[in-house]
Symmetry: C2
Subunit: 339 residues, 2 copies
DNA sequence: TTGTAGGCGTTATCAG
DNA sequence: CTGATAACGCCTACAA
């Protein structure tokens, strides 16, 4: 019973041929006599031979795997996005090397370093990541697609959600239904999505000639718990806000829960809306209105872009793409009844 | 401007030393004069040198990465479990090669093959996977931890949720509160979790001397949508069921939604309970009672086990571990009011 | 159609 | 302390 597994040499020896021939039949490159081919296949199967990935990558200079850099895997948003990435990648025979939860910069740099020679390209999604860090830590030959990052310059391909536009549109919608005291539950602070959504909210209010009140901008960190707390805070405002715009659905769901518990009716007493339109939003009670983002499509799109960049050996134009959002109006904002 | 990135040779040449010395300072193995060490570090930094992972793995015979095999990444359950795995892995400096969405067997086999030489160990979580497939497709030297798989034999380390016990306990709880007509929304069919949970439900009913009725076992597939549909079906039963036990929380949430929409009060008219206790369960209205599973802890635990196996070079006893569950009773089952 | 040999980038074992 | 040099497992000219 051998300790380590069969190599191409073992197969060659058993089949009485050279490694070159074995390699040829396994990748069917080059001509091989039908008879030897069969013999080799048989031996390979018997020995349960499978090529060693590391050796293969080293020799071929490509790994057939994509690196995915994430901030943290919490919640449905990320699970959806990875899902989108994985589906597209798998379709093209690529694997995923994921690395998440980078709180500090050195963690991130370490992860970046470790990707070297292990991936053919990289999808980076840390909202904290700035381009500089990436440029410094990556070989220029590695194709990169930035997903939802605060981008500066045009060194990378980038894919962003229209956070600003979505927030603007949703705020405008609330305004058009008579709300003037709209509170926003903000996202985690140094986050790009968070600040863009806040910017959209503010811009819409200003465009409507409504004064921005800092008391209406409530702290949050994208978790249900923070949405819950923020909603309780919102109830203390005088006069009370008539609408609550959470920077993501998780917080909106937390807020809904707080309101139900305190006997505040949604949407009659207060309207609630979220952002992302995660699958579960539709099943809340009342069903949650939200700014729809095609999350897994976003992941898929990023993968396509990356694979293209890899095919072109990075000799393509860098482009920036902004994924549109659209409002999905359900009962939580009272749109159905028309306030 | 060089096309490909710097190798250890480049660093050696620039610093006027041999590759061996460079390797020594980079991994600080072996003694090196302080002066040369500094020089090498400087050059390495200037050249932005980072060791090639593939070459490193090939030479060291270990990759510092763990393979993760998943059925599909849908929903909060999987996102939580990967999160748990990733956290533990990262702590020990390991990366994750994930591969999911294996519908057919050949996909799975391909993924397994591709892991060869790319990972130091494997966490497999497909509820469809049977041990045979794994054994046949993996080199015996690769440590494997089975997570929530239908296991047979003792060829692998295994970690399971106490699906049976949890379902039994929850059913018993409902029974003890006077429910006798308890409907179960089943999980996706060939799934191990699904069948174990069903088995627990049935056993509890039988133990209470209650007849099993097939009309009370409703089809589901773990998605919110299927829970929604099942709840509507349940309402058609005569006499109506007084409690609804969904095989996971997503379906329970779908069911809640359907009940609210049709004006059926929970828990007054019908109790609803789920399984998994995903983070969002607590924020439903009414808050969802569920069988708690420490999901991300489960992932973390699996990782620990795998890392241990790797450390022991697989020369350890295989063990099977069952993670306990506990009931988390919130308002959706009326436990607070005591039916 | 097949085999030989060199290289992919590192690490590690020897001598010096 | 440092430098050759042989692995690691695979692919691919180039020769035969």
């Amino acid at each position: 019973m051998k300790r380590s597994s069969a190599t191409i040499r073992d197969v060659a020896r058993e089949a009485g041929v050279s490694v070159a021939t074995v390699s040829r039949v396994l990748n069917d490159s080059g001509p091989v006599a039908e008879e030897t081919r069969e013999r080799i296949n048989l031996v390979a199967e018997r020995l349960r031979y499978a090529p060693n990935g590391a050796a293969r990558s080293l020799s071929l200079r490509r790994t057939k795997t994509l690196g995915v850099l994430l901030p943290d895997l919490y919640g449905e948003f990320f699970s959806e996005i990875i899902r989108g990435i994985d589906q597209s990648a798998q379709q093209r025979g690529f694997h995923l090397l994921v690395s998440s939860s980078h709180n500090n910069l050195s963690d991130l740099e370490a992860a970046l370093q470790a990707m070297r020679g292990r991936v053919d390209g990289l999808i980076a999604m840390s909202p904290h990541v700035d381009a500089r860090t990436l440029i410094v830590n990556l070989p220029e030959s590695l194709p990169v697609v930035l997903l939802n990052c605060a981008i500066e310059g045009d060194a990378f391909d980038a894919l962003n959600v229209d956070n600003y536009g979505g927030a603007y549109a949703m705020t405008q919608h609330l305004l058009s239904h008579g709300h003037t005291r709209i509170a926003m539950i903000k996202g985690a602070e140094p986050n790009y999505d968070a600040s863009e959504r806040l910017r959209g909210y503010r811009a819409a209010l200003e465009a409507a000639g409504i004064e921005l009140l800092s008391e209406l901008e409530l702290a949050g960190d994208f978790t249900e718990a923070s949405g819950y707390r923020a909603a309780l805070e919102a109830l203390l405002l005088v006069p009370r806000a008539t609408a609550l715009f959470a920077a993501n659905d998780s917080m909106a769901i937390g807020a809904l829960s707080a309101l139900v518990e305190t006997g505040v009716r949604v949407p009659d007493d207060i309207a609630v809306v979220g952002f992302d339109n995660i699958p579960i939003a539709r099943y809340m009670s009342p069903p949650l209105s939200s700014v729809h983002v095609s999350i897994n499509e976003l992941g898929g799109r990023a993968t396509e872009r990356l694979l293209y960049a890899i095919d072109q050996e990075n000799r393509h134009e860098r482009t920036r793409e902004v994924a549109a959002t659209r409002l999905v109006l359900r009962q939580s904002c009272g749109a159905h009844e028309g306030i």
